[in-house]
Amino acid sequence: MTGERNGGDRDPVLDVRDVSKSYGAIRALDGVSLRVDNGEMVALLGPNGAGKTTLFQLLSGLFVADAGSILIEGHDIRHNAVPALAAIGIVFQQPTLDLDMTIAGNLRFHARLHGLGRRLARQRIDEELARVGLTERRADAARQLSGGNRRRIELARALLPRPRLLLMDEPTVGLDPASRADLLDHILRLRADRHLGVLWATHLVDEAERADRVVILDRGRVLRSGTPAALVEGSATATLSDAFLRLTATGATPA
């Protein structure tokens, strides 16, 4: 299931095994397994309501799975939440900047919350702001930023504690095409430069096409996973988009 890796020095930074979660009678996740290796970007591709957000809530420790285990850098999020959380950076689907605080203030708050010393925090904030090209706006209120720039700041913020795993829950929702492409390029560079594992949830096939691997989630179950090319090949279609549509429309069973 998790094959097609390039080998080398890769270790799983995220290892999800057989996770299930129900809300009342609704089975939001049903035996989901997936893994993300160091320096690998995995796209979690699924239509709306597939269970992507539920999975992210479990990965970030906001809720606990009914069954199965989630290991982040070897730490079980259920029993060992603090070191597991220390290893992840999260960009939530919903905007989570304090709009009344300045950009630097938002970043400082996060750095302190993650226990970074003042000097280190200042240094990293400078670095991350420079990386996203927003250094000169540091004293502006977050409210004054455009949607695309708010997302960049949220990304910069998530990277401050130098996480090993970056979780991005439909991060391009509400962004214009240029900002979307920009964000995706940025992430692809990051995962290479920093050996960062990235799990990127999306319902957009063109985003998933650029990932190292794709995990197709539908109705709470993993239907297929593999490189974009392998998925196209395995489904006897011409493009990933066709493969995705065919799988999710027919309600295919997990491979």
């Binding site: 809720f63 939530f92 989570t96 009344d100 996060h110 919350l113 226990g115």
Partner: protein, 268 residues
């Protein structure tokens, strides 16, 4: 969690509360105007209606304005405690809560830090109010301000913990008006904040007397009242601290992901 990390997080959360408070200047003004109105208008009007007989901790005849001062201190703490819960609900709706709860710190500590940050702010408001009262000629005995500080702090923690607990169950911001009606007003009016409890008994309002006697807010007010006059009220101290601890623990359970009382819709 190292001590320096814990302190950094506590500092950041307190700093954020302070910045938000200062930015919303209306909050500071209303936090001061509300009790001052009571002190100036209502208490002055009742001055001659209510005679306060000599009951502990008072050793002499007490003007009504002086009697009501600890009660209004409690009012500042009560409103601020509820306002903190409002800000928790706001943070939840705005997604900031997720950011807090995914910080690499134990959840109970994050909630405690939030509670401490809010309480420090409410203690500061109490002293701003007391300073204004002093300028108006209504005050505690000398030294009472310092002696009352631990009592104000413990009472603030208890009422803040109550706010934290309510924030588990309040789903949306709109429900805050309900909190006003069903929590703040009954707690304030059915208490010893505005009149000594024996007056209720005298009026043959036995049921209300007992309600007021079991109201933790009464004990918070009495704890402050006794402390301001250099006396320690062990029963009030026990009730206030005990209720505070109980409210906090139930709130921690409410925010526990295993139990998941913060439902999916709330966004946790």
């Amino acid at each position: 969690m190292t001590p320096s990390h814990a302190l950094a997080a506590l500092g950041a959360m307190t700093g954020r509360e302070v910045v938000r408070f200062v930015q919303q200047r209306g909050r500071l003004i209303s936090a001061l105007v509300r009790p001052l109105l009571w002190l100036i208008v209502v208490a002055a009007g009742f001055q001659n209606v209510f005679g306060i007989s000599i009951i502990p901790p008072y050793q002499t005849y007490t003007p009504y304005q002086e009697y009501v001062l600890p009660g209004l201190t409690g009012m500042v703490l009560l409103f601020h405690g509820m306002q903190s819960s409002l800000s928790m609900v706001y943070d939840r709706e705005m997604g900031m809560m997720r950011l807090l709860l995914t910080a690499p710190l134990p959840r109970w500590f994050l909630l405690l830090a939030k509670l401490m940050a809010g309480t420090l702010l409410s203690v500061a408001q109490v002293y701003a109010f007391l300073a204004a009262g002093y300028l108006l000629g209504v005050g505690f005995p000398p030294g009472g301000y310092l002696l009352a500080l631990p009592a104000v702090f413990v009472s603030g923690l208890m009422l803040g913990a109550l706010g934290l607990l309510l924030s588990v169950y309040i789903r949306q911001l709109e429900n805050f008006a309900g909190t006003m009606n069903f929590v703040i007003f009954p707690m304030f009016f059915i208490s010893s904040a505005l009149y000594p409890l024996w007056r209720l008994r005298e009026s043959a309002a036995e049921a209300i007397y007992w309600l007021a006697l079991t109201n933790p807010f009464s004990h918070a007010v009495e704890l402050v009242r006794f402390a301001a006059y250099g006396q320690f009220n062990p029963i009030s101290a026990g009730v206030t601290a005990g209720c505070g601890l109980a409210f906090f623990l139930v709130a921690v359970v409410g925010y526990d992901p295993q139990r998941g009382l913060i439902r999916r819709k709330g966004g946790g």
